[in-house]
Subunit: 234 residues, 2 copies
């Protein structure tokens, strides 16, 4: 946690941190004392350097001292085939930490249908908070879910795809690398474990998506996310 994110804008000049998870982290890792400085952000608002006024088991009181710039987002819509539940948390958290503007989870042939039933999907907002607190960010990215692949590609992705905002799909069996994507607005698709099937790649390409290769190493989904975003922003 590199920022304490307040869910609601505070109503006075003295702010109270009362969420048990945040208090526990501060107690375990920071050993806060009165007079210490702490970064605190307001969800969907600004972030500040604050000064600690009081520390107890029930709350930490701070007052804002200086406004801090919010980290810029990457102008990327990351579209990922819904991963296994245990991977979902890290994937959402990492995508948010890395600063994608929008995260889209889609179905695909190799996504087990049971993944859509996981209770973890009800906790996406918690994962977003963790990602924001890791990055020191306050702005919640858009998250969208599409449970049908074909309508998503034909009706949604095809609308998003333009010359100014192209779509790219990571695919192991093409020659084209990903250079030349630097700092552009784009949609970036990452398949499930085992990859998109040929029918899906065909449909994506027919709807304006360009395939690119990540080289001949096969990465786990979550590794691929940060690796590709790293390449993109070099």
């Amino acid at each position: 946690m590199n920022l304490v994110l307040l869910a609601q804008p505070p109503e006075s000049d003295v702010w109270a941190i009362r969420e048990p998870r945040q208090l526990q982290h501060l107690q375990q890792h920071l050993d806060l004392k009165v007079g210490d400085q702490l970064k605190v952000g307001i969800r969907e608002g600004k972030r500040y350097l604050t000064e600690v006024l009081a520390v107890s088991a029930e709350q930490v009181l701070v007052k804002p001292v200086q406004e801090l710039a919010i980290p810029e987002k990457l102008p990327v819509t990351l579209i990922v085939a819904l991963p296994r539940p245990k991977v979902l948390r890290r994937l959402v958290m990492d995508s948010v930490t890395l600063g994608v503007e929008k995260l889209v989870l889609i179905h695909s042939y190799r996504v087990d249908k049971s993944y859509w039933q996981t209770p973890f999907l009800q906790q996406l907002d918690d994962y977003v908070t963790l990602g924001l607190e890791q990055a020191g960010d306050t702005i919640v990215p858009k998250i969208e879910l599409y449970r049908r692949f074909k309508p998503f590609v034909e009706d949604v992705l095809s609308e998003w795809t333009t010359a100014e905002c192209p779509s790219f799909v990571a695919h192991p069996y093409v020659e084209q690398g990903i250079s030349g994507l630097q700092a552009t607005h784009c949609q970036l698709l990452i398949g499930p474990e085992g990859g998109f099937i040929p029918y899906e790649i065909d449909l994506l390409e027919k709807n304006g998506c360009q395939s690119f290769s990540l080289g001949n190493r096969i990465l786990r989904t979550e590794t691929a996310v940060s690796y590709i975003l790293g390449r993109l922003t070099a």
Copy 2:
């Protein structure tokens, strides 16, 4: 698992896969039948497309049909402050999957000394195997551990650092980005949670290490590894 890695070179033309972990994976995920194709590699040797000859609960028999090229390594020595035990497995696995030539785990002020006692450090070779099987690679990267920061930097890293093979350390408080590192031989240092302390950054810089910034988002160690390697190879 995108490759079954055999620990020993087989002694006949028919190869037996008998390791319980590998058999279980093949049974759960692949539903192998006689005549199917399977990628099999020999640790520190070649890799092949093989044909399945027999499947039973105790073993899978295959014969090699075609030699496959081994993925190239990244010409990078990745030097990471020893992470928390639960992160270690993923970090080693991902580094190997991404293809670093050498992985070095070092001590640093913000590394809890207890981390060096974790039994996970006895299992590094298992994590390497998982990383190789994920990537489809057969060549084991070198792994080295240094439990003292200063002697490592002054006596080891300073020797590794040359004009042809520079050293770079990720540090949040410098302006310099990481562009211009494309496809060069280098050492790349990533600090612990909370970062290297100023004394450590000073010592690194005095010994020829260049600081670079990852931008103003703070990444988890494991996310930083794949993100930086992505930037490096763009």
